[in-house]
């Protein structure tokens, strides 16, 4: 417990956390804005609009799930929570204070849960404001169904689990730039490729991105299909699994290295 408090204190006594929070907020606003702007707009071809109209229930579900795509920012914060210790050589005093190194990582994972939840709640609050304003204006009726609740919880879970995922990667790859590049490349490049190629979908649902999509799946098909996904709970377990496996592997390898 005290290690979690110490890790949170480490975060709040430097600036990076609120820079990351500001970026996350800006990104969420952008996404909400675009979704609101293009809602109900029909593309060139005839047929259903890509994004449901503002007065519909699916629109609301889609809005609630948007925050999850900003998870890359708390993930980077998670990476830095670990790698900054090596970069600034604070790892020496950290390990002198807590010589059982796996406890240090456990403390960071605990703090990561708090960080992820805070980020998630902020994003969801923005979403709530956006939904409450736009839907009645468009003449729709506000609805908060069981599936909306699932998406809200899923969004919180995704932001939290990506933070842990970042901490896991940071523990494994001590080099800050290397770890950030690896994590971002995974999310943007590998995930994109895997989810874009139908043949890779059996693999895709086991990737962090596939698992995250499962958690926030609103049932609105944006062109990639949704039936290939894992159930939401399994998505959560898979994401958590990544974080814990990375942290465990790191504890047995990278973390044991000599600090010279």
């Amino acid at each position: 417990m005290r290690l979690i408090r110490a890790e949170l204190l480490k975060l709040t006594t430097t600036r990076l956390w609120w820079v990351m929070l500001a970026v996350t907020i800006a990104y969420a606003l952008l996404q909400l804005g675009i979704t609101i702007g293009f809602a109900g707009v029909t593309g060139g071809q005839p047929g259903a609009p890509a994004i449901p109209g503002r007065d519909t229930a699916p629109f609301q579900e889609l809005m609630w799930g948007l925050g999850a795509s900003g998870a890359v920012f708390p993930m980077i914060l998670g990476v830095v929570m670990m790698t900054a210790e090596y970069r600034y050589q604070t790892i020496t005093s950290t390990f002198l204070t807590t010589p059982r190194r796996e406890r240090v990582v456990a403390g960071k994972l605990g703090a990561g849960v708090v960080v992820g939840l805070v980020f998630g709640l902020v994003v969801l609050a923005l979403t709530a404001v956006a939904v409450v304003i736009t839907v009645p204006l468009a003449g729709g009726e506000l609805s908060f169904t069981g599936s909306t609740a699932r998406i809200v919880v899923g969004t919180l879970a995704v932001l939290m689990l990506y933070t842990l995922f970042g901490i896991g990667i940071g523990a494994l790859i001590r080099n800050q730039l290397g770890a950030i590049v690896a994590a971002v490349a995974w999310v943007f490049v590998i995930e994109a490729i895997v989810s874009a190629i139908p043949a890779l979908r059996p693999v895709g649902r086991w990737t962090p991105g596939g698992a995250a999509t499962a958690l926030t799946n609103s049932g609105v098909d944006l062109g990639l299909g949704t039936d290939w996904l894992l159930p939401a709970w399994a998505g959560g377990v898979v994401l958590l699994g990544y974080a814990l496996v990375f942290a465990a592997v790191a504890s047995a390898t990278t973390l044991r290295r000599d600090i010279t």
């Binding site: 005290r2 290690l3 408090r5 110490a6 204190l9 480490k10 006594t13 430097t14 600036r15 900054a84 600034y88 050589q89 604070t90 020496t92 005093s93 950290t94 390990f95 002198l96 204070t97 807590t98 010589p99 059982r100 403390g107 044991r256 000599d258 600090i259 010279t260």
Partner: protein, 298 residues
């Protein structure tokens, strides 16, 4: 019980044998100087002792336990290490608050420790604005927060100005001789620690070269007096008649068995002009200078 016990410690980095079978102990209430030239293996030894580097062989214990087994390490051991740093964007006070939080120490210890090392006024400043000496003081404050009774300090005088070094010496003396702490302090400059250490351990190329109390090492054998005289031919027999042993080389007489005053009086009686009378360097300095490659080529 020794506060620090190192037995047959060995550590290699690839082909480099950084520490090779080093053994020594440090007792409570004493200051031990851990001396050796650059690359001798001092830092590696201390990092093994602190659980930061895993030794290949041997043991390194603090209060009879391996560092990683100490339940509350900061309350038992205070350490200052080279290549330790601080997050540049964090203030000095916050740096210590984080450590207090992680160690379960009361948060007010952070400010107290800063006062103790003379950083009270800059407690709220970001570390990036600190000079090398201020960082060194902050490192020392980190070692003090838990009120430990064992101190392990790697070149703690680095970056300190003469007044700071003076202050550090007084402080270490106080810790060891008044508060009964065990202090192990490394240095590659003998003069830096010679005035405060009780015991000395010297290593070179990873191997222990010499250890013992400072008094022992300094009084090891009779210290000789160097004498130059205008006419040594007449002086030498007179000195020998008075009971001295004289070794002559290059016009310098190394005289043992007589003190400088006696030598002067004998010279006066013999009406020989002395051009130099000086105490030879102590054995400790001799050993150390030879090891560091700065010894006289005589």
């Amino acid at each position: 019980m020794s506060a620090i016990e190192i037995r047959d410690l060995g550590k290699s980095f690839g082909a480099v044998r950084a520490v090779d079978g080093v053994s020594f102990t440090v007792e409570p209430g004493t200051i031990t100087g851990y001396l050796g030239p650059n690359g001798a293996g001092k830092t590696t030894t201390l990092r093994c002792l602190l659980g930061l580097v895993t030794a290949d062989s041997g043991t390194a214990l603090v209060n009879d336990r391996r560092y990683v087994e100490l339940p509350h390490p900061l309350t038992e051991v205070g350490a200052v290490l080279e290549a330790t740093n601080f997050h540049p964007g964090r203030t000095a006070l916050n740096h210590l608050r984080v450590i207090c939080a992680a160690a379960g120490l009361p948060p007010e210890r952070a400010a107290e420790a800063l006062e103790q090392v003379g950083l009270g006024e800059v407690a709220g400043k970001r570390v990036m604005t600190f000079s090398l000496g201020m960082r060194q003081r902050l490192a020392l404050a980190t070692a003090l927060v838990g009120h430990p009774r064992v101190f392990i300090l790697d070149e703690p005088a680095n970056g300190l100005d003469p007044a700071g070094i003076q202050w550090l010496r007084g402080f270490l003396r106080h810790l060891a001789h008044e508060r009964g702490a065990a202090v192990l302090v490394s240095s590659h400059v003998l003069a830096e620690v010679e005035q405060i250490v009780d015991n000395v351990v010297i290593i070179a190329k990873g191997r222990l070269v010499r250890q013992g109390s400072l008094a022992e090492l300094v009084s090891n054998g009779d210290t000789a007096i160097r004498v130059r005289a205008a006419d040594p031919g007449e002086l030498v027999p007179a000195l020998e008649r008075a009971g001295a042993t004289v070794v002559q080389s290059d016009g310098v007489l190394r005289v043992t068995g007589l003190d400088a005053e006696r030598i002067g009086r004998i010279a006066l009686d013999e009406r020989v002009v002395l051009t130099e009378v000086s105490q030879e360097r102590s054995d400790l300095q001799h050993v150390f200078l030879e090891l560091t490659g700065e010894g006289e080529t005589s």
